[in-house]
């Protein structure tokens, strides 16, 4: 077990190193720099700025310096937002994305699993059809359509909620709906197909032959075995939702990480691009690690080891 976590940690560091390297050089390959603006900056000031941020040095030297700072957990200063550190910007905006994302994850899992379960239990009945229509809609309607639609109707026309901003608990409702639409649909479909398979498994028949109640059989015996595909999907999905959706956050005017990332790229804010990219990678890898742990927790046949051969 300890070896497993050490192994995971080493591979995390290695992945981060590769990612940092590739991002660094790709970023430098984009034309323009942080100080290119509509209004020309006097060359003396430009030279001073470049010197301040170390941009006057050869690229390999910049790279080495960046890695050295990284080892000290220093992501540097933002090149466009004055007096702000990259970690500060990430921390400030991540808090919104995280809150929103976690709520969306919980909502998606509850509604998605419930829909999928109902569809499987009432296979080929109208409940199944209705649930799958919802699922197809959720998968195929893009989140910006959902977001704009509910903003227009619930926010403007019916005037039930504030169309934008994040000032109270009620303001979470619409962004969460927009963020959850796709995951709900996806989880519902995963749950349905996997439950349909599990419900015909021999051990479910065994459970029935013991005289257990239908609800007990479904919850205790079937669901635990049928939930695995959802857990698999949950890792990357959580990372995705928690790090902020550019579109949804933009539409509802939420100062989350998503819009920050987009602005950082168009601003060529080198340190911020690097910082958010690495941050996203860390979150993704943590989510994957949690998925692995959840696997081992749910299915006793899975052991957390580094060995290649199956136990």
């Amino acid at each position: 077990m300890a070896r497993y976590f050490i192994g995971k940690f080493v591979s995390l560091l290695f992945s981060l190193f590769i990612l940092a390297t590739v991002t660094f050089f790709l970023m430098k390959a984009i034309p323009g720099d942080p100080f290119t603006a509509e209004k020309a900056v006097p060359p003396e000031i430009l030279a001073k700025l470049n010197a301040f941020y170390g941009l006057d040095k050869p690229i390999w030297q910049q790279y080495i310096t960046y890695l050295q700072n990284l080892l000290n957990f220093d992501l540097g200063m933002s090149m466009r937002s004055q007096y702000q550190t990259v970690s500060g910007i990430i921390a400030d905006s991540f808090i919104y994305s995280l809150q929103l994302g976690l709520i969306a994850v919980v909502v998606s899992v509850i509604i998605g699993v419930a829909l999928g379960l109902l569809a499987a239990l009432y296979y080929r009945k109208w409940i199944d059809t209705a649930a799958m229509i919802v699922a197809v809609l959720g998968v195929s309607v893009p989140s910006f359509v959902v977001a704009a639609f509910i903003q227009e109707w619930i926010g403007n026309k019916l005037d039930l909620l504030n169309p934008a901003g994040l000032n109270g608990p009620a303001d979470f409702i619409m962004p969460v709906i927009a963020l959850s639409a796709l995951p709900v649909a996806f989880i519902a479909r995963l749950t349905r197909s996997s439950m349909l398979e599990v419900l015909t498994a021999d051990f479910v028949k065994t459970a029935k032959s013991k005289g257990l109640r239908q609800q007990v059989i479904i919850i205790r015996h079937a669901l635990r075995n049928g939930i695995m595909p959802v857990v698999t999907y949950l890792g990357p999905m959580t990372a995705n939702v928690v790090t902020g959706s550019v579109i949804v956050e933009q539409i509802f005017g939420i100062p989350g990480l998503g819009p920050q990332f987009v602005t950082s790229v168009s601003n060529r804010d080198y340190t911020l691009i690097m910082g958010i990219t690495l941050f996203y990678a860390v979150i993704l890898m943590i989510a994957r690690l949690l998925t692995d742990i959840a696997y081992a927790f749910i299915d006793p046949r899975i052991e957390l080891t580094n060995r290649k051969e199956a136990a």
Binding site: D202, F203, T206, S209, R213
Partner: protein, 332 residues
Amino acid sequence: MENMLSVSDLHVSFRARGGEVQAVRGVSFEVKPGEAVAIVGESGSGKSVTAQSIMRLLASPPSYVKQGSIEFMGRDLLRLSDKEMESVRGKDIGMIFQDPMTSLNPTMTIGRQITEGLIKHQGLSRSAAKARAVELLSLVGIPNPEARYSQYPHSFSGGMRQRAMIAIALSCNPALLIADEPTTALDVTIQAQILNLMKDLQKRLGTSIILITHDLGVVSEVCDRVIVMYAGQVVETGTKEEIFRSPQHPYTRGLIRSMPHLDQPKHEKLIPIPGSPPDMLQPPAGCAFCSRCEHAMEVCLNNDPELLKVGESGQQAKCWLHHPLAKEVQQA
């Protein structure tokens, strides 16, 4: 002795794309307390469907019982509510399935899977149920039951899993144990162990057994009485001795001839039954075995025979050859 289970005129069908598959067509048989009865037949003969109908385990739809009754200890199981049926399953009737590799829940400890029924049916506390489960594990011959109790099925071998399944099925001292091909998925050496275990437990606990199998060797090990099924019908019944020594239905005779014997001369070939069973979407009007039968007569084609008494004992065969009017036929 009073019958403990009596199945009469059971018809079970499945709704399928092409129409109605008549899996079981008028099966009747009885089981007495403490008796071991084998239901023998090839795949698709309706033996498993019959067994699962007793427990009402078949999903409906697509399956449905068209007619008949299943009297168990004075009650018709087919008329019980779902709730009443739950208190019969696992408590009065236990069941063992064919494939021990898939019939245990992989995400639950063996112990929990045994105690589940005990807690539900006997109202035992968790600790009492655990003590009983450990006792059951050692009863079915699992060494080190204390440690095995908290292990998961993947740490058990196939034979061990089937032993655990037997422990689950017998946990509440059921009056009847239905074993649906319990040894089909096991190695031959393990098969013998499991059969001996079942025989031994039957003697000790006085449980009645219905053993579903296609393996006549298994039948001779465990059972007192044999029911031979073909195309959803009972074609012959009798004691084990009667069926093996003097099979009266051409199908039973064919089955026995196609089984290898140890004392068979090396070069003697086994004689298979030619042809294949009829399509249960459109079962034939006459005797279902007619098209494969070497003794087929004109009457067989359009008239389905009744189960006819053969000799003085209880042996019965569903064949026109045993009709009083049929002329004596040279037996093969």
